[in-house]
């Protein structure tokens, strides 16, 4: 398509009535009482829709339309809307600005045009309109098909199908008896035994450590105080009690403690009084 072709047709009158003529689907309801132009604006499904409708008014194949005429029609339309101080949605104005740019580009000599060329932009617009137009036709044909509930009917009073799920429960006697056993076992009174564990009390540890410290002025290691043949449980208890006893003696000023490093040997020595 050449630029000359784009320019063939002059602007036709902008007919703003009967915009829904081509629409054979189900049209949206329009308010009737406001100004006519306003109704028109409300009725469009966006600027592309308006452009498509304007293009259709040229009564030629969408491929043959004059883009320049179309641009003029659109801009005239927007001007009129503005003259009536109607608020136009921003996207209509964006489209107007873009079309104005397109128009000025188209009027430039070809070699002064930027890339992409006006011709290319116009062609794209045309294709875009063709695409929307074709889809709209298809939509109308779709809506015009024989539709269930309007032209075609399914059975008015179907009996309906039902699948009743019947559960067949099963359980074996072992599970039954075991279940009972578990209930009984779970709820049977329980008897708790508290076992008497060997411990070294703090008092006896204090006594023991004091007594053993009394015989020497040398450093002694904590383990020296533990009963030599004790079982592990008693040994643990003795270690804890002896440690507390040592702290007690140190606090009372009867002994001093030393530990060279962390977790190192813990030593104790009687203080001379």
């Amino acid at each position: 398509m050449t630029q000359e072709e784009l320019l063939i047709e002059g602007g036709r009158g902008t007919d703003l009535t009967g915009k829904d003529d081509d629409w054979i689907g189900i049209a949206s309801d329009l308010p009737e009482d406001t100004s006519k132009l306003y109704i028109e604006v409300e009725g469009w499904e966006g600027p592309l829709d308006l452009l498509l409708d304007l293009a259709r008014r040229q009564k030629v194949d969408l491929r043959q339309i004059s883009i320049l005429a179309l641009v003029d029609q659109y801009l005239t339309y927007i001007d009129e809307a503005e003259a009536l101080k109607l608020e136009l949605a921003a996207d209509y104005l964006v489209m107007a600005a873009w079309l104005a740019y397109l128009k000025s580009a188209m009027l430039l000599p070809k070699d002064e045009q930027e890339d992409p060329s006006a011709e290319e932009l116009a062609l794209r617009l045309q294709l875009r309109l063709a695409r929307l137009g074709a889809l709209r036709e298809a939509a109308a044909r779709l809506m015009g098909r024989d539709r269930i509930g309007r032209d075609i009917f399914t059975r008015g009073a179907p009996e309906g199908l039902r699948t009743d799920r019947k559960v067949q429960w099963t359980c074996d006697s072992y599970a039954l008896i075991q279940g009972y056993g578990q209930v009984k076992a779970r709820t049977a009174p329980k008897i708790y035994h508290v076992s008497d564990r060997p411990v070294m009390t703090l008092d006896s540890a204090l006594e023991r450590v004091s007594a053993m410290l009394g015989v020497t002025l040398e450093w002694m290691e904590i383990r020296d105080f533990l009963p030599p043949h004790a079982k592990p449980a008693l040994r643990k208890s003795a270690l804890a009690s002896s440690f507390v006893a040592m702290l007690e003696l140190a606090k009372n000023g009867q002994a001093e403690l030393a530990q060279d490093d962390c977790y190192g040997d813990l030593r104790i020595r009687r203080l001379r009084q």
Partner: protein, 219 residues
Amino acid sequence: MSGQPDDVMRAVEATLFASEEPLSIDALARHLGDMEKPAVRDALEALAEHYAPRGVQLVERGKRWHFETAPDLAHILRREREQVRRLSRAATEVLAIVAYHEPVSRAEIEAIRGVQTAKGTLDVLLEAGWIKLAGRREVPGRPIIYATTPDFLDHFGLSSRKDLPGMDELRAAGLLDPVDDVFQALMGDDEDPDVDASEEAEVGDSLPNDQENATDTNV
């Protein structure tokens, strides 16, 4: 009559098919644009004959006509699917309690189980046909009491409830061993002094089946 249907037959057929209720000849004639009634009647009879051997039939009931599924195929409309399901553990316990203690009320079942019993659990047992309502206990509140059914004995192969093993036999079988012992034995832990008894019972409660079965083979 197996030839091609004529226009009236097709119209009557479609109208009756789409109608939400049976239609009289009058109503059909009116609906079809004041058609002659005899023509409608003829069409109905031809259609009824045509449908006679089919899965759907055209029938007249109280002077009104409609399509319905052939009587011999009525079972198709409502199909039963059997589904075998194992009784849940809770339901098994409740069933066992009813069997050993019947008749019992729900409150008594809960007291024996030591846990609340969902309404659905008893429903399942009622649905299975293993327990039944056995009247009310004449105490304040008159609670419903439950007992087992002959189907219960049947399903479990018992000739009477006396066949259920007694407490001594349960004990001998190790089925009365406290669950916490079982648990400890399972865990190989006989030393831990700190675990609180109630916790152990709970843990025992939620033991998966395979572990329980494992202990059973030990006894």
